[in-house]
Symmetry: D2
Subunit: 119 residues, 4 copies
Amino acid sequence: MSDATTPIAELRNAWAQFVREREWNQFHSPKNLVMALACEAAELMEHFLWIDNEPSRRLVEDPAVREQVADEIADVTGAVLALCNALDLDLSDCVRRKMAKNVLKYPVEKCRGRYRVEE
Amino acid sequence: MSDATTPIAELRNAWAQFVREREWNQFHSPKNLVMALACEAAELMEHFLWIDNEPSRRLVEDPAVREQVADEIADVTGAVLALCNALDLDLSDCVRRKMAKNVLKYPVEKCRGRYRVEE
Amino acid sequence: MSDATTPIAELRNAWAQFVREREWNQFHSPKNLVMALACEAAELMEHFLWIDNEPSRRLVEDPAVREQVADEIADVTGAVLALCNALDLDLSDCVRRKMAKNVLKYPVEKCRGRYRVEE
Amino acid sequence: MSDATTPIAELRNAWAQFVREREWNQFHSPKNLVMALACEAAELMEHFLWIDNEPSRRLVEDPAVREQVADEIADVTGAVLALCNALDLDLSDCVRRKMAKNVLKYPVEKCRGRYRVEE
C-alpha cells in the first residue's frame, strides 16, 4: 500500500506541476474546478448505474473494470487536489476539522447501524 | 501545511474507524458511495453558482465562506476515501497511474495554454 | 393527469415570466444554468441514497416524501426549461430527434431485457 | 415551435413505449433513474466547462455544438420523464405547485436583480 507512505503534498505537487507546465492555471478558477469535479464524479457513477448495491461490491473483480474505476477515482481526486491548490487549502486539515464536526453530529449511540440519525 | 507530513493512509484509517464504529459498512456499497460522492460534489458546486470565474477566485477570502467550502471539500474527500476503503484500492497508486496516462494524452507542446488538445 | 392537456410552452412561459420579473436573465447564462441543473439533480438523488433499488420504488408512498421528491423534480425541470429559454431551443423537438437516434442506437432485438446493448 | 402544441403526456408516452418495448422497466427503479439523470446532467455540463459565462451564451451558435447540446438536454429530459412514469407523478402538476412555492419564497421586491434573497 503506497498510501501508507505517500504524503498528500506529494500528489498535490505532482498535479501542480502538470497544470503549470500546460499553463492551465488560467482555466483553473474554483468555479471551473468544482464543475470539473462534478463531471468526473458523474463519470465514476456511470459505472455503477443500473445494478444493485450487492453486485456493485463485486463489479471491480473484473480487472478491466477495476482499472477503469481506478482511473475515474484518480480523475475525481485530481480535481480535488487542483481545487486545494487553487484555493490554497490544506486538505488534511480540512478533513480533520470536518471529521471532528462529524463525530459530534453523528454520535455513535444514536446512529449505530442507521443511515439516518435517530431523532 | 499538514499535507506535507500526512500520509493518505492516515486519513483513510480515520474514516474507516468512523464508519466501523457506526456500523455503516452495510450501507457503503460502491454504488451508494459514488452517489454520495456526486451529491457532495454538487453541494460544493452550489457555492460557486451564479457567479463568474474571476469572482470565484476571491470567494473564499471571506473566512465564513472559506470554512463552508473547506467542509464541502472534506465531505467529497471523505466519500473518495470511503470508496477506496470499500474497493480496497490504493489511492496514491490510482493517481500516479492516471497521471502517467494524462502525460501521454495531453502532451505539453499540443495543449500549452489550451483547454482542448489541438488536433 | 394535467400532463395530458398542458403544452410544454405553457410551463416554459410561466418560468420565463418568473425569471423576467426578478431580472434574473443576467444570471441565466447556459453555463450557470447547467450547473444549477446538476445541483438540482443531486438534491433529488439525495432522497434515494443509502437504500436499495426495490425500496426506492416504494419510497414515495409516504405523502411527505412524495411531495419533497415532486418538488425536486420540479426544480430539475425548471432548470431545463430555463435553459431551453436561454438557448432558444424547442424542447419537444430536441426530445423527438434524440428519440429517433435512440431507436437506431438501441434496437429492440439487441437490448430487450438488457441494460447494455449486446455486441 | 412545437412546444406550443405538444402536451407533456405525448413525450411521456413515447418514452414509456420505448422503455416497455426494450423491457427496461426492471432497471427503471427511482434510485437508478435519479442516478441516470445526474449522469446526463453532468454530460450536458461538460460542454460548458472551462469557459466563461458570456462565451457560454454564444456556444450553441455553432450548429454542431447546438445539436450536441440539444441531444444532452433531451437525455436529461428523458430521465425526468421516465422518473415521472416510474413514480406515477404528473410533471406539470409538480411544476405548478413548486412555482407557487417559489413565488412566495422569492418575492419580487426582495430579489429583483439579486441571485440571493436579501435578508
